[in-house]
Symmetry: C2
């Protein structure tokens, strides 16, 4: 499924990093501080002056057995926006991407999309039934499921509505809202094929109806091929049990596919001969077409159905509206890229609105259907900059421009906006979302 | 530093997993349930009967903007044991290893070791001073530090006192306490060498005194070679800011070395010509010798100083005292292995107290100085079993037996007990710690 040889070691980029380290990344402020340090350190009421918190005993160990972030991080939160979904039961909260480091999204900050609110499920009472076109229908407890061999894999999840608000123009002025319907966690679970082998799928069983135990009975049709490939029945998230908002105690994970196919609170899998055409895959999660291309007028009014794969996408996470530039000088631009088809091959960055491109460094691990970090040194001298990033997958697919998407699909679509995004750095260092 | 070619793709073990999937891992209970499913499902008050939580709307989205685990997981907690450290300020809490999945320890469950309690630090006021044998002493703010290029790497941390209570005999009957002074997270930070290059180390500067901003001023000496190798100045943990108990806002990370050298709440680095022989590396964190080997009587009363590297270790996490076997049948044994010298090469498992060994499968990613998952199919027929696991590093180092350690060092040591551990499965399926 994936090419072993293209996996990079998490420490393999040292040589490239070495090139960066030769540059001077200290801010002007730090350079000034440095002079102070050489002179009269004590005058600063800074180290080596002992800070107040070092003068008395700290809090007892394990005063919070299940820990919490520092109170100084209280602004780093998921956010729900009432203007997008006035109802709070069928709604979305966004990952604060500007604050996320590395490739793991901590469980407390992973975006949430519920269609009928968040059920509170007793794992002792929870069951997974597998029936339909199978030799041996079965009802499994959580204990049964955990008895199968399990695997742990790091994969992104992205809602197909991520960046949807940007179809018609720059609607929202914050990275959290333009791209925050995604997360990336280490998921632990049982390959679905192990369970399907146990029940014995009949030859005519080609599709799965997967259903959640929420009040919306959120359900999707998944083809057998995906089920037997890399689909997992997941009970663990970043080393602990799934969080309630991620499907506790059990969810499906269809790596690289529309997030809503990774059914949460998984309770039922029915093997069928045909797709079930559920509400959420007919009235929703389809892409209405109204292409501008004069040669494709035949498509107008039609819709893409079952556009499962989340295509390649890259986004610069620093600088961004939440993280402006505060002074001139040298910086390292950071960003995230991912593709539902496999690994990221490379990411290019433009500082002139897409006219010229330069290849970014990929940092850390480059894994299958997983967030990949990229970075590039950047010196800002106070001019206006139109900053873009463009992902290319190992399959050769190149992230499109917004114009290319609009030519092909018009502006009637809601989902699958993976267009190249433009950040404008203004002369005052603030960053805003624009379209070029 | 690490061999790129030995990194395994997280999905590369599918073929081996396929072999396991041919076996039947369903419990007797599930097999019975399966018959019920074929017959009268409705009689069971199970799916497809709709569970209570599916009949009404769930909780609103983002009702908990910074999430929490399910209330049904409230027993999955770090624990402090008063019999080990009566004082709660200089104490330890243990990772609940029996509940941990995959290779990421969630931030809420990562073990904590404080020497003077947990300081509450305002990141705006926090400073890192670097001085001593440098060209340009400097005081850095958090913002200064974040301006350097940063990297994200998944590494374990282990306290050298992990398993210390087992030196003289099986003292504690719980995996959490025999091996829970370790965690494994994705750490984000600046390679220390970038900062040292900025300040310019003088030729005679061969050591670093690193000091924390806690009330213990916890400090250690670190040789320049390690500082310029893979040491990081860390501000991120599993995608978010460091947790307070992990050093918020800033810590050192010396991958693979004694956890206490990864100084938390890092405030000062002094470049020196010699080690500073701090309290915690002379009176503590040394290994007093009293070897049983009659040829090494010269060592008696001496101590190992600066035994930095955490040597190869493997531990079976299922079954274990917290996770007994409930019935006869087929299982998959799971465990964790790590070594401070690099990658795990292989793990062997014994079911007869170390007489015969069989190589386990390594599951998922195999990374440098990182927890590595291993597993092995196992059929339990109700007999007593002496179960062991033994790690071998890519450097060829093989985890020793307790007898080998005692012959070499006696029982006066406290730290660096990486002996092969024995779990005894009793006839009732319960698991206890024994020594053979």
């Amino acid at each position: 499924m994936s090419d072993k040889n293209t996996v990079k070691d998490q420490t393999s980029l040292n040589q490239q990093e070495d090139n960066q380290s030769r540059r001077k990344f200290l801010s002007q402020a730090a350079a000034t501080t440095a002079v102070v340090a050489t002179g009269s350190v004590a005058a600063n009421n800074l180290p080596p002056n002992v800070p107040e918190w070092q003068k008395h005993l700290g809090k007892p160990v394990n005063s919070n057995p299940y820990g919490q972030p520092s109170k100084y991080e209280s602004s780093v939160r998921r956010l729900r926006v009432p203007w997008l979904t006035p109802d709070s039961i069928a709604s979305i909260s966004f990952t604060p991407l500007a604050e996320i480091k590395g490739m793991i999204t901590p469980n407390g900050l992973a975006f949430e999309r519920d269609h009928g609110g968040l059920p509170t499920i007793d794992p002792e009472q929870h069951r997974l039934m597998i029936h339909g076109l199978v030799e041996k229908p079965i009802i499994l407890t959580m204990e049964d499921i955990k008895r199968f061999p399990n695997v742990s894999r790091i994969h992104f999840i992205e809602c197909p509505a991520n960046s949807a608000m940007e179809w018609k123009g720059p609607q929202v002025g914050r990275l959290q809202f333009t791209h925050g319907m995604t997360n990336c966690c280490e998921w632990t679970g049982v390959p679905l094929k192990y369970i399907l082998e146990e029940v014995g799928v009949k030859p005519e069983g080609k599709w799965l109806l997967v259903e959640g135990a929420d009040s919306a009975s959120m359900s999707r049709s998944v083809p057998m091929e995906k089920a037997m490939d890399d689909t997992l029945v997941v009970f663990g998230q970043n080393g602990e049990a799934l969080r309630p908002e991620q499907g506790y105690p059990l969810r499906l994970l269809t790596p690289g596919w529309e997030g809503n196919t990774s059914i949460k609170w998984l309770r039922r899998i029915e093997i069928t001969a045909e797709p079930s055409y559920q509400r959420e895959e007919t009235s929703k999660y389809t892409d209405l077409l109204n292409p501008r291309d004069p040669n494709r007028k035949d498509l107008i009014g039609k819709a893409y159905l079952f556009s499962w794969i989340m295509e390649a996408k890259a986004i610069i996470t620093f600088p961004c509206p939440e993280k402006p530039l505060k002074e001139h000088g040298k910086y390292v631009i950071n960003g995230l890229a991912w593709t539902g088809t496999g690994k990221i091959k490379h990411v290019d960055v433009s500082f002139d609105g897409g006219i010229t491109w330069k290849e970014a460094e990929l940092n850390g691990l480059v894994l299958d259907k997983c967030w990949t970090r990229f970075s590039m040194p950047f010196e800002w001298n106070g001019e206006e900059v139109l900053m873009q990033s463009r992902a290319t997958g190992e399959d050769g697919y190149v992230q499109p421009t917004l114009k290319q998407l609009r030519d092909a699909r018009g502006v009637a679509s809601i989902y699958h906006n993976n267009a190249i995004h433009t950040w404008k750095i203004n002369k005052n260092g603030e960053v805003e979302s624009v379209q070029v």
